[in-house]
Symmetry: C2
Subunit: 222 residues, 2 copies
């Protein structure tokens, strides 16, 4: 059976990507990061989603990107602003080079376990200045992964980075997730942590809008 490494944050996008990797017939190995984000609520969600989906393995990698701050998600001295889904600037929740770091570590795991597939749940539709969510970046990383691993560069086993939602709106993705049986009640999107989503940060606003557009109930709000 082919193996896939899935980047799993515990959010909506990565959880749906995980179910898609399963649907694609892969043995799924999930990887999550404890990267200095202020709350561990999303890691709890990642564990629950991985368990519910019955993955072959789930690793949580500690990597302290908060050592140099640069983001309100990792820097306790910055506040998380209320959201504005019409913003045109780059939000301060941007974490420098995060997806590059995550994909590189996923590539290391992929090579170690012999997986030729990596899944990441990014979208370049309304990417809000997150340049590392664009297809052009994913393509550049795939090239680097294949040149930088013995498995591919020396042994001819190509590694593919799948970004299945790259051109989907969040509403389209939610409809797909519902079809795939994703349990949305286990997922977490709120930037702020806590028991219940705050409902006012960028991430909560985008999530609410997308569920409304998809005409799907967000069971995490029950």
């Amino acid at each position: 059976m082919s193996k896939a490494v899935v980047l799993l944050s515990g959010g909506l996008d990565s959880s749906t990507a995980l179910y898609l990797a399963k649907r694609d017939g892969h043995e799924v190995h999930a990887i999550s990061f404890d990267y200095g984000q202020r709350h561990s609520r999303e890691l709890d969600s990642a564990r629950r989603v991985a368990q519910a989906a019955g993955v072959a393995s789930h690793k949580v990698v500690s990597l302290n990107l908060s050592l140099w701050g640069g983001s309100s998600l990792t820097d306790a001295n910055m506040t998380i602003d209320d959201g504005n889904i019409n913003r045109t600037d780059i939000p301060d929740t941007y974490v420098p080079a995060r997806n590059m770091v995550f994909l590189s570590v996923a590539a290391s795991m992929a090579e170690a376990i012999g997986a030729q597939h990596i899944y990441i749940g990014v979208s370049q539709v309304d990417y809000s200045g997150y340049v590392d969510c664009r297809q052009v970046f994913i393509d550049a990383m795939e090239r680097a992964v294949n040149l930088g691993t013995v498995m591919s560069a020396e042994r001819g086993k190509h590694i593919t980075i799948h970004a299945p939602f790259i051109n989907m709106t969040k509403a389209e993705e939610i409809k797909l997730g519902a079809d795939l049986g994703v349990d949305f009640s286990l997922t977490w999107s709120c930037y702020r942590g806590g028991i219940k989503p705050c409902g006012t940060c960028d991430s909560c606003l985008l999530r609410a809008k997308a569920f409304a557009e998809a005409s799907v109930e967000d069971t995490s709000l029950r």
Copy 2:
């Protein structure tokens, strides 16, 4: 003053790269990894080299690549073989995608502190199957870094990955290091750790051969 992030393992190559970044006129920010390698001897060396060189900052990032093994450097169940500098296969000290991970994290730090230069001390001369030491890989990573960071992709501040020794032999690099004033006695290459280098692993053999070719004394053996 321009800033540079230098990947510093505490070995000969990265220590020389650090002195070169200084000579190039940059404010130097060193970054080292505690990545599950079996011994911390080289991290001690990294700290000493950084201090001796008077860097602006030195961060040690913990990142447990030993979670999935795949290398005798991170897997305590594997032994480190005595060296064979004429080998043609890929040595089991290869750590999957290590330089990709290190460069990605360095890029995150570079973006956070506004550094447009990253230094890495790899060489593709006699690269022993370490495909992530080749110019073609460094070029692919530089492209990914510039597409995946807001600093470059949105704000036009290009990030350059410098691999100044890429076409140098280790002997040529040692001569350069001696000219730059690198204190070789502080550096560490041995794969095995301990108080003194073992003298018999691949890394010790390559180091001894290179110092002999360069006609420079390896003061770490005093």
